[in-house]
Symmetry: C2
Subunit: 409 residues, 2 copies
């Protein structure tokens, strides 16, 4: 049996849209992503054997469950199609993609649609923040807390500060870079937003603190959006490549993956890691597991990383956890320009969650789609020149669920 799993592309909705304002149901978002993907990929509906939907909390935001089944309503051909909804908070479509790899490697399906989808602009910020709190241990970490996740990822910054020192200017540079990259991405939520390093450094009325060290510009946005990618067996991918008139080795394949679950509560995570060189060792393990499976020794064999910058602190963590620097010295890679487009190892050329947007359940599949675009030289203005191997890191909760993929041509 050949275990190669390929990515055939997909489609991302414009993350700047507000679907409640357009009076559109979450299933309409799924439909636009699906119909767009038929055009971008040339995949035929009858080719699709199953659909795995990643969604965090449509029950709360949209009073709708059973999201997997909505995919089967998108096309008359899909009547009977096996479907399922996957959830691991902000890593929901990451875990859906992991399962797609398993189903293809088991020989059960040849072509699976992975659809991340989230509609979040249905409620105000306070209610939305409360809903997001269910990604953490709600009773212990979120109940009665105005913005639980800014607080938790603020604490991640506090921990870096306590162990290694952390300067606000480095977090501000992360925000600046993501916003700058997003300006090159026609689907990015913030592509037309004003942002500068000085603005990110500023506090006060222009960039108020949400909680602790986390300012507005340190946060990813409340975003509506969907992203679909197709994964396929080698047999299907070979036929598909022939149909497209390209050679199979031009299609990115899953070279490695990692999947870990850390303790749910952030305080437990930090307590457990006190003697570990890494602040979040289970996130580190997902990365090193993926590298091992991919036969990669070093992050410098990567062309780019799409990482989970729900806050600037989580990208700061990703920099040393991927091995760009020694633990605690992420600031070096920032100062040296390594993570910018054109740098030695660009992070989030798409703009990431801070710039491109963070429709929670869609982020994992959006990252895979951007990795596909980089590896196929179709990322347009945010293309990393010559990209061959791209890693993604998708986390759920306060880095509780960790999903890493390495894809390459």
């Amino acid at each position: 049996m050949n275990n190669n799993v390929y990515i055939l592309g997909g489609f991302q909705t414009d993350f700047a849209r507000n679907w409640a304002r357009e009076k559109k149901h979450i299933s309409a978002m799924m439909r636009e992503a699906y119909e767009g993907s038929l055009i971008t990929t040339g995949i035929k509906p009858a080719d699709i054997n199953a659909a795995f939907v990643g969604n965090f909390a449509a029950e709360l935001y949209c009073m709708q469950g059973h999201l997997g089944a909505f995919f089967a309503d998108l096309d008359p051909v899909f009547k009977g199609l096996p479907t399922c909804r996957y959830e691991a908070a902000c890593a929901s479509s990451g875990v859906a993609a992991l399962s797609a790899v398993a189903h293809i490697q088991a020989g059960i399906y040849d072509c699976i649609a992975i659809v991340g989808v989230e509609q979040m602009k249905t409620v105000d910020a306070a209610k939305g923040g409360d809903f997001l709190g269910t990604a953490a241990w709600y009773e212990r970490e979120s109940a009665g807390v105005e913005f639980p996740f800014p607080k938790l990822f603020g604490k991640l910054g506090d921990e870096y500060d306590a162990r290694f020192g952390l300067k606000a200017e480095h977090l501000a540079r992360i925000a600046e870079i993501n916003y700058a990259n997003a300006r090159r991405n026609p689907n990015a939520q913030t592509r037309d937003w004003y942002m500068s390093y000085d603005h990110a450094c500023a506090g006060g009325q222009y960039n108020p603190a949400v909680v602790g060290r986390i300012k507005i510009t340190d946060c990813s946005q409340i975003t509506d959006g969907a992203a679909i990618v197709y994964m396929a067996s080698e047999k299907f991918a070979a036929d598909y490549a022939a149909r497209c008139g390209i050679s199979l080795d031009k299609l990115p394949r899953i070279q490695g993956w990692g999947h870990t679950t850390a303790p749910m509560e952030f305080a437990v995570k930090i307590h457990d890691s006190k003697d570990n060189p890494y602040v979040l060792p289970w996130t580190r393990k997902a990365i090193t597991d993926a590298m091992k499976r991919a036969n990669i020794d070093s992050c410098w064999q990567l062309s780019a990383i799409e990482t989970h910058d729900c806050f600037t602190t989580s990208e700061y963590m990703a920099i040393d956890h991927f091995g760009l620097t020694e633990p605690g010295k992420s600031w070096q890679a920032i100062e040296q320009g390594i993570i910018e487009i054109g740098g030695k190892l660009p992070i989030n050329p798409s703009g990431g969650l801070i710039g491109c947007g963070h429709p929670v359940g869609a982020t994992g599949s959006r990252q895979l789609l951007d990795a596909y675009k980089q590896c196929t030289n179709t990322a347009g203005d945010y293309q990393v020149a010559g990209a061959k191997t791209v890693a993604t890191l998708n986390i759920g909760g306060s880095a509780t669920t960790n999903v890493v993929f390495i894809i390459s041509v």
Copy 2:
């Protein structure tokens, strides 16, 4: 590669309990199921490679998402364990089990815990009914409807009545049999409840109609509960059997499975099936797909069926869809005593959803656990004598997601 997937047993919580009244968190329910399963199976925590949690809507009932990750908090050994939450409404742990089969067949994991869990007694009946409405297309089928699912499954009865004729006395017999079986099951929610055929036939103050033809006794209950089963590769199962001092062929294995998604809206399902001999052809297809994979020609090769009797009408549907009778003639199997314990093909010896209880996300794994018990002659007072091959049917929404397993020794 050997593709056999085995079931090693598990544990079910007492479905009569009310965990909100006990002031216990949904994670405590998961913990009791897990700790119970260590005793019943002898599996060691370190043997478990991954945990797949089936849950419908803890976001709504318990204000808690990210349920997969809670499993990793149950034992210090589990730090880092890959986890995921699966959702397909009332078929949530059914789809989790399907994915476990794929991961084992792909050679990714050798032993996976499948944990269905639902806590529903946190809210009153009206609110709970509204929450359940998110398993259907909420805006179109549930919003403003007091009890959407009794209404939808009442319509299933209406459709049978229109096509073939349907007598209330046959639905009453289904209720009576499930309650009678539940009396033999020490974990059944209704094991001590009064029920009789006359009571099930009665309407009025003693057994009022919920909506249309659906009376109280036609409904499954609001239930709190969890059920865990372990699935394993042949390699792991062989070692486990040796450890237990039994031969591998005494352990049940997955002989076949089926998975389909019908159109979301019940009216569309019925419109589509108007020229089909079966009222719910996609449910029928999940059954016949499972039989094909299991190399079974006829339902009479089964020893028992655990089916999804969320209402008496859904069991009535299962009888002809499994092929016990010609389409529309389920009443014949009821009248002939075929579906009772001791009959030719007992249905729901456990009491099913009506008798045993229906903690939504836990029903699929509870069915698999009961199928395991039947095949290993450990079902106690509800044992079907000589059971070798048992089928399960787990449905989500108005038979939108359909998951069938056939397991055998």
